[in-house]
C-alpha cells in the first residue's frame, strides 16, 4: 500500500522568519494521486467521523475523476467553510482516524484533499455560479457572534430564505478564526473570501455590536427578530492563579494572539498596536492555542520559545500537524513541567518562571494519567515573556444581561444537543459557548443543527 502523498511546505528555517502559510497544498496531480488511494468503502466509515457528515468517499471519487468543481459541490452541501476546515480540523481524531487504510498504513489524507478542493473552487469560482438562496420569506432572524458557529448558522438560515443579521462585537468577522488562529495557519484572505461568500447569500454583518451592552436579546425580539442564535464562543481567558501573573511581560494567549492577528502587531509600527516580545518566551499549555502562541512568538523574533506543559507529548491536545510543525521549527518542549510562580525584577518585568517537574501517576477521570509533582524538582526557567494558554471559558456578559437564559455550573449556556434550543423559546445557542472550548467543526455542526431547528420552530409558530 502506498504512503500518502506528501504536501510541499516552506522549510522550517525559512518559515520562522515570515507569517506566510506553512504548507503549499496539493496541486491537481498530487490530489488525484492521493484520491486514488481511496477504496471507496461502501460502509463509509470516514464520513461517520465527520461532525457535519461530509460525503467523503463521494467527493474523493470526484477528485479521482478530475471533476474538482463537482467535488467542491459535494463538500459544500454539508460544509460551508471547507477551505478553513481543510486547514484547521483535527482530522487525525475524526475522519482520518476511521479510514480503513489507517489500520495497516496511512489513512487517506482527507483534510488535505478537502483543502485542495476548496482552494481550487475558490480560485476558479465564477460569480454567476453562486448558490441562490431560497425565495425570501421576510422573516428576520438574528445571529450573535461571527465565529464558525455563527457564520454557519447565518449561512444556512440565509439559504433557507431568512433575512439574517449577524451581530459581531469586534470590528472584523470570524471569531477565533480572525483573532486566534494565526496567518501562517489560516491566511486571513481565505477567511475574508469565505465570509464574502456568506455575505453574498444576503447575510447582513454588523460590527461593533456587543449584545448585552449595545443591544439586548430582548430588544432584538422587540425589533421584530423572530429567533436568535447565540454563538459567542469561549472568549474569557483563564489564568494560572500563581504569583506574578500580572507582571509586565505576561500575556493571556488571547491578548497575545489578538494583538498579532486581529490588530496586526506583527506589522508594527505600520499598524499602531504594539506587542512586545522578549528574548526567551515561555508558553504555558499544550493545545492549539499554545502551539499558535509559541510559533507566533518565534516568528516575531524570540530567540528561544519553550512550551511548558504538565503532561506528556501524546497528551498534548494540539493537532498532530501543529505539534510536528512546532518541533520542526525548533520549539523547546518542556513536557511534564508545571509553572508555580512567575518572578519579576524590581521594575515589575518578568525575569524568570519557577517550575516543577512532574511524573505520570494513576489515570484520572479522563483516562489520562494524572501528572504529579516530583518533590524537590523546583528550578527557574530563564524567561522574559510568558504567554498563558491554559484554556478559555464563557464570557458572562451576554448571559448576565439576558434574563431566563440557563447555564451549567461552568457558566456555559445550556442547550438541547438535538436542537440547540436554550431555556428561552426562540433562542438557540451553539459552539464553544455551549460546549466550552472545542473545535471549529464542532461549532459549525452546532450552527447547522440550530439553523435547521430554528427553521422548524419558525414554521411551527
Amino acid at each position: 500500500m502506498s504512503d500518502k502523498v506528501k504536501m510541499r511546505e516552506q522549510s522550517p528555517a525559512e518559515r520562522i522568519r515570515n507569517f506566510n502559510e506553512v504548507p503549499y497544498g496539493y496541486d491537481e496531480r498530487e490530489a488525484v494521486q492521493e484520491a486514488s488511494r481511496c477504496l471507496g468503502c461502501k460502509k463509509r466509515p470516514c464520513a461517520q467521523g465527520c461532525p457535519v457528515e461530509v460525503d467523503i468517499p463521494d467527493f474523493i471519487a470526484r477528485i479521482k475523476a478530475e471533476d474538482f468543481t463537482g467535488a467542491a459541490e459535494v463538500i459544500k452541501r454539508k460544509n460551508s467553510l471547507p477551505a478553513i476546515c481543510g486547514r484547521v480540523c483535527p482530522q487525525e481524531s475524526q475522519c482520518e482516524a476511521l479510514c480503513v487504510l489507517g489500520r495497516k498504513g496511512e489513512p487517506v489524507a482527507i483534510g488535505r484533499l478537502e483543502r485542495f478542493v476548496a482552494d481550487y473552487e475558490r480560485e476558479h469560482r465564477s460569480s454567476d455560479a453562486a448558490v441562490v438562496p431560497a425565495a425570501g420569506n421576510k422573516t428576520k432572524v438574528a445571529v450573535v457572534g461571527s465565529g464558525p458557529a455563527g457564520l454557519t448558522a447565518a449561512a444556512d438560515l440565509a439559504l433557507m430564505g431568512y433575512e439574517v443579521v449577524l451581530f459581531e462585537a469586534l470590528h472584523a468577522p470570524g471569531g477565533v478564526l480572525r483573532y486566534g488562529i494565526p496567518e501562517f495557519r489560516l491566511p486571513k484572505a481565505i477567511l475574508d473570501e469565505e465570509v464574502g461568500y456568506i455575505r453574498s447569500l444576503g447575510v447582513d454583518l454588523q460590527y461593533n455590536m456587543l449584545v448585552g451592552a449595545t443591544l439586548s436579546i430582548e430588544e432584538l425580539f422587540a425589533d421584530g427578530y423572530k429567533a436568535v442564535f447565540i454563538g459567542t464562543g469561549a472568549g474569557l481567558p483563564y489564568f494560572l492563579g500563581i504569583p506574578g501573573e500580572n507582571l509586565n511581560g505576561v500575556y493571556s494567549a488571547n491578548e497575545f494572539l489578538t494583538r498579532v492577528n486581529l490588530m496586526r502587531a506583527y506589522r508594527f509600527p505600520e499598524y499602531d498596536t504594539p506587542v512586545r516580545i522578549g528574548r526567551h518566551v515561555a508558553v504555558v499549555g499544550g493545545g492549539n492555542v499554545a502551539m499558535d502562541a509559541a510559533r507566533t512568538a518565534l516568528r516575531l523574533g524570540a530567540e528561544r520559545v519553550s512550551i511548558v506543559y504538565r503532561r506528556a507529548w501524546e497528551e498534548m491536545p494540539a493537532r498532530e500537524e501543529e505539534k510536528h510543525h512546532g518541533r520542526e521549527e525548533g520549539i523547546d518542549f518542556k513536557l511534564l513541567n508545571n509553572p508555580v510562580a512567575i518572578l519579576g525584577d524590581d521594575k515589575g518585568w518578568v525575569e524568570g518562571m519557577e517550575c516543577v517537574r512532574m511524573e505520570l501517576g494513576e489515570p484520572d477521570e479522563s483516562g489520562r494519567r494524572r501528572p504529579v509533582v516530583i518533590k524537590g524538582s523546583e528550578y527557574v526557567l530563564d524567561v522574559d515573556t510568558v504567554v498563558v494558554a491554559v484554556g478559555q471559558g464563557p464570557n458572562p456578559l451576554l448571559i448576565q444581561s439576558t434574563g431566563g437564559l440557563e447555564t451549567n455550573r461552568r457558566g456555559n449556556i445550556t442547550a438541547d444537543p438535538e436542537t440547540m434550543a436554550t431555556s428561552i423559546p426562540g433562542v438557540y445557542a451553539g459552539g464553544d459557548i455551549v460546549t466550552g472550548a472545542a473545535t471549529v467543526i464542532a461549532a459549525m455542526g452546532a450552527g447547522k443543527i440550530a439553523a435547521r431547528n430554528m427553521d422548524a420552530y419558525l414554521k411551527g409558530v
Binding site: A169, L170, H171, Y179, Y207, N208, M209, L210, A213, T214, L215, G235, L236, P237, F239, E245, N246, N248, G249, Y251, S252, N254, E255, T258, R259, M263, R264, F268, P269, E270, Y271, D272, T273, P274, R276, K347, G348, N395, P396, L397
Partner: protein, 281 residues
C-alpha cells in the same frame, strides 16, 4: 462609520469630539466608556463618554494628545469619522443619594467626571467639585461643572488659578472645614487618583476611582486590562472601570500602564517626524 459632528479644542492638546453613534448614545450612562478605532491600521482605544445626546444620537469624547494614536485622533475634524465605535462598555457609575459627594477631576479627567457629577446632583446630593490642572489655560468644562455643582474648587500646580497646590489640598480643606463627605469620586492621572485615595483612606471616606487601564477588546476577552483590587485580579473593562480606590493596587497598575512604553515612544517619535515632513512640503 461614525461621523464626527463637531470638533473643538478645549485647551492645549485637549480636543472635544461629538460623534454620531446612536445605539451607544441610546444606552450611555455616566461612567460608561467606548472603544474607538481610527483607521484600518489604528489601535483600539478606550475613551470615557463625557456626555451624550440621545435625541441627536451623539456621544461626546474628550481626548488628550499624548502619543501617536491620541494625537491623530486630536487631528480629526467635523465631517471625519471613526472607523469603529463600540459601546457603551463597562458598568455605569453607581449613583445614589448619599448626602454630600465630592467629585475630584485631575487634568483631562474633568471630562469623565462631568456626567457623574451631574448624575449625583440630579439624584439629590450636595455636590462639591474639585478641578485640578497644571495651569489655568488647561482648565475646561468650567461652565458645565459649575452648573451641576454646589461649589467648585480649583487648584493649579503653578498657582495661576485657584489654590496653588494639588487636588488633595483642596479635598483636605473641604473635609477639615467640617463638611461631612459621604463619598468621593476621583478621576484623572493614576498618581492623582492614588493620592486622593490615600488621603480619603485616612478619613474613612468611601472613594471611587475610574481606571483607564490599557485595553484591546474592551469586552473581557483578552485580560490585558487586568488590575489587582483587594488582592484579586479584575478585568477593568468588564468588572470596572470604577473600583474602590482604597483597594486598587496602584503601583502595579502604574507599571502595567507602561507595558508598551518603548513601543509607544518609538511610534510617536516616528509620527512627529513624518508630520513635520508633511508640513514642510
Amino acid at each position: 462609520m461614525y461621523e464626527i459632528k463637531h470638533a473643538a479644542d478645549l485647551a492645549e492638546s485637549i480636543r472635544l469630539l461629538v460623534v454620531s453613534a446612536p445605539m451607544v448614545a441610546a444606552k450611555a450612562k455616566a461612567g460608561h466608556f467606548v472603544v474607538v478605532r481610527n483607521g484600518e491600521t489604528g489601535e483600539r482605544i478606550p475613551l470615557t463618554i463625557a456626555d451624550y445626546d440621545r435625541e441627536q444620537g451623539t456621544i461626546t469624547l474628550v481626548i488628550q494628545s499624548v502619543g501617536k494614536s491620541s494625537s491623530e485622533i486630536c487631528e480629526l475634524k467635523a465631517g471625519d469619522a471613526f472607523t469603529d465605535v463600540l459601546g457603551p462598555l463597562g458598568h455605569a457609575t453607581h449613583i445614589d443619594r448619599v448626602g454630600t459627594v465630592v467629585c475630584v477631576a485631575g487634568g483631562v479627567g474633568v471630562a469623565p467626571v462631568y456626567p457623574i457629577a451631574r448624575a449625583f446632583k440630579e439624584a439629590g446630593n450636595k455636590l462639591i467639585s474639585v478641578i485640578g490642572a497644571r495651569s489655568k489655560d488647561l482648565i475646561f468644562f468650567q461652565t458645565e461643572m459649575e452648573a451641576v455643582s454646589d461649589a467648585v474648587h480649583y487648584t493649579t500646580d503653578d498657582g495661576s488659578y485657584g489654590l496653588h497646590g494639588f487636588v488633595t489640598d483642596a479635598v483636605r480643606n473641604i473635609v477639615d472645614g467640617g463638611e461631612k463627605v459621604s463619598e468621593v469620586v476621583a478621576i484623572g492621572p493614576l498618581p492623582m487618583m492614588r493620592a486622593v485615595a490615600d488621603l480619603t483612606r485616612g478619613y474613612g471616606i468611601p472613594t471611587v476611582v475610574s481606571l483607564n487601564a490599557l485595553m484591546v477588546d474592551g469586552t473581557g476577552m483578552c485580560g490585558g486590562c487586568r488590575v489587582t483590587v483587594g488582592g484579586e485580579t479584575k478585568f477593568s473593562c468588564v468588572d470596572g472601570p470604577d473600583f474602590d480606590g482604597h483597594q486598587v493596587d496602584f503601583a502595579e497598575l502604574l507599571r502595567r500602564q507602561n507595558r508598551f512604553g518603548e513601543e509607544e515612544k518609538m511610534a510617536y517619535d516616528r509620527h512627529r517626524k513624518e508630520g513635520h515632513k508633511c508640513r514642510i512640503r
